[in-house]
């Protein structure tokens, strides 16, 4: 009986311990936008998604992003339809994910307010294709909020996103992706 009590106690301590030290931050309203315009584009080709989910574990430096492709908003509804129908095939591939790790975790002090340069590397899944991506950006710690900002380029070819020849010079080969997410302690 005593033994069982001890075990239970230890387990409780263990459970408490992990929940105290597992510092996780999350948001469901992160913002990711892309711009695939070229100087010869007749109109700006850009979309914004304001419903990006992101979860960060400050202890391990793991960070994951997830979004619904159909959540991208465009200035023109027709562009949104083309984006989903012809380019992203979002009926088949409804989600995009980024499974990454902060590579310079030791340089970031999550316990202290400030802005830190950060590099993340990991696997991005888009249009059903996986691709290793490295991005640099900043992590801003402010109280129990963490802000992640990054910019990187994604090559359409890497994700097998086909641009027809007719508009090949009007759609950029690489899309400039901007990430902005404010995470709250979970």
């Amino acid at each position: 009986m005593k033994k069982i009590l001890v075990v239970t106690g230890l387990m409780l301590i263990a459970a408490c311990g992990t929940s105290v030290y597992a510092q996780k931050y999350m948001t469901r309203t992160g913002k990711i936008s892309f711009d695939a315009s070229t100087p010869t584009s007749p109109e700006k080709i850009d979309g914004k998604n304001n419903e990006v989910a992101c979860l960060l574990d400050t202890k391990t430096g793991d960070v994951v992003f997830q979004l619904q492709v159909k959540g991208f908003k465009f200035e023109k509804q027709l562009m949104e339809e083309h984006f989903n129908e012809k380019y992203m095939e979002s009926d088949r591939f409804p989600k995009s994910t980024f499974n990454a790790k902060i590579t310079n975790l030791s340089e970031i002090n999550f316990g202290k307010d400030g802005t830190y340069n950060a590099t993340v590397a990991g696997k991005m899944n888009m249009h059903g294709q996986d691709k290793e991506i490295t991005a640099t950006g900043t992590i801003t710690v402010a109280g129990n909020k963490i802000k992640i900002s990054a910019k990187f380029k994604a090559k359409l070819d890497d994700f097998k996103i086909v641009v027809p020849n007719l508009v090949a010079d009007k759609v950029a080969k690489e899309a400039l992706v901007t990430v902005d997410a404010e995470l709250n302690q979970k």
């Binding site: 979860l55 960070v63 997830q66 509804q77 027709l78 949104e80």
Partner: protein
């Protein structure tokens, strides 16, 4: 026992790799609904309406043209000399409501249309079909006929027609969509008391994309009653149309071959006086051009920082 406990503690500490973090994120997110979109490319398949509504704040200007009867031969330049036109403006009030007005050359008929999206097809559970209601009121504005004597009155209501449709569409694959259109057309005035004022019809249509931006379409309306209806002494037939549809940026261009020359529901569904069996066919085209009037919510115009020359 304590060993086991320690193992559990250790395990839970090591556990949180990126994969698990993604699983944790998935658990925290509400289940996302994946709605089918672009079941049809346009708000009209050939003559009749599709389940599609315009996007919020989008204005659609359509020019529909039906040439005369091809069987007239060279004397009428295979129908090219005799065309009927419909000009329409449709507007997407919100995601599920669309309103429109139109003018038709035939009988100088004016239309007021409404389309309401009632259900959306969902991928992976939910509704298997998209359902819309389409309603149309039309008034013909030709001069009143000469009446036998002053005891007869030509009422305004004689000029009115009403069409109601339930549109049930499904996108079966990326390239194939199909829809059924149960229809009721009400005529306030018919040519004889032998005919009913209500024509019930069941329509069916499909769209099959054979390239990235072009498709073959077809549409048929089968009348369930009133098949003996005469229009100015001429028999009426069910309408069947085949079309080719191509999309180029903001335009949708549709070319078709059909036995109906009229462009309102009351004419092409219930009062088509020409038939495929007599090769009385009409070439025609629809041009749709969309304009974004109100920008969608959630889209914030990019900051004007010199690169707005790209516009």
């Amino acid at each position: 026992m304590i060993g086991l406990c320690l193992a559990v503690t250790l395990f839970s500490a090591i556990k949180s790799s990126a994969q698990d973090l993604m699983a944790e994120l998935n658990n925290d997110l509400p289940k996302q609904k994946n709605y089918a979109f672009a079941t049809f490319k346009s708000t009209r398949l050939i003559d009749g309406a599709t389940v599609e509504c315009l996007g919020q704040g989008v204005l659609d200007f359509r020019i529909s043209h039906r040439f005369g009867d091809v069987s007239q031969g060279l004397s009428d330049f295979y129908g090219m000399d005799n065309a009927l036109t419909r000009l329409s403006l449709d507007y997407g009030v919100n995601k599920w409501l669309m309103v429109g007005i139109a003018h038709n050359v035939f009988d100088k008929e004016d239309n007021g249309d409404i389309k309401i999206k009632l259900l959306r097809q969902q991928i992976g559970g939910g509704s298997p079909v998209t359902v819309s209601y389409f309603g149309s009121i039309s008034v013909q504005t030709t001069p009143a006929p000469t009446l036998p004597d002053s005891t007869y009155k030509w009422l305004f209501s004689n000029r009115l027609y009403f069409a109601n449709q339930i549109l049930i569409g499904r996108k079966f694959s990326k390239t194939f969509s199909f829809q059924l259109m149960p229809t009721l057309v009400h005529y306030n005035l018919v040519d004889s008391s032998k005919f009913s004022n209500n024509t019930f019809a069941l329509g069916a249509g499909f769209r099959w994309m054979f390239t990235r931006s072009s498709a073959v379409t077809a549409e048929y309306y089968y009348r369930l009653n009133n098949t003996n209806m005469l229009v100015q002494g001429q028999p009426t037939y069910n309408v069947f149309s085949i079309g080719y549809e191509v999309e180029t940026g903001g335009h949708v261009f549709q070319v078709m071959l059909t036995n109906a020359q009229g462009l309102t529901e009351r004419t092409f569904i219930g009062q088509t006086t020409q038939s495929w069996s007599k090769q009385q066919l009409h070439l025609g085209f629809n041009i749709s051009r969309v304009f974004t009037i109100v920008k969608p919510k959630g889209y914030v115009a990019p900051a004007k920082d010199g690169d707005d020359k790209k516009w």
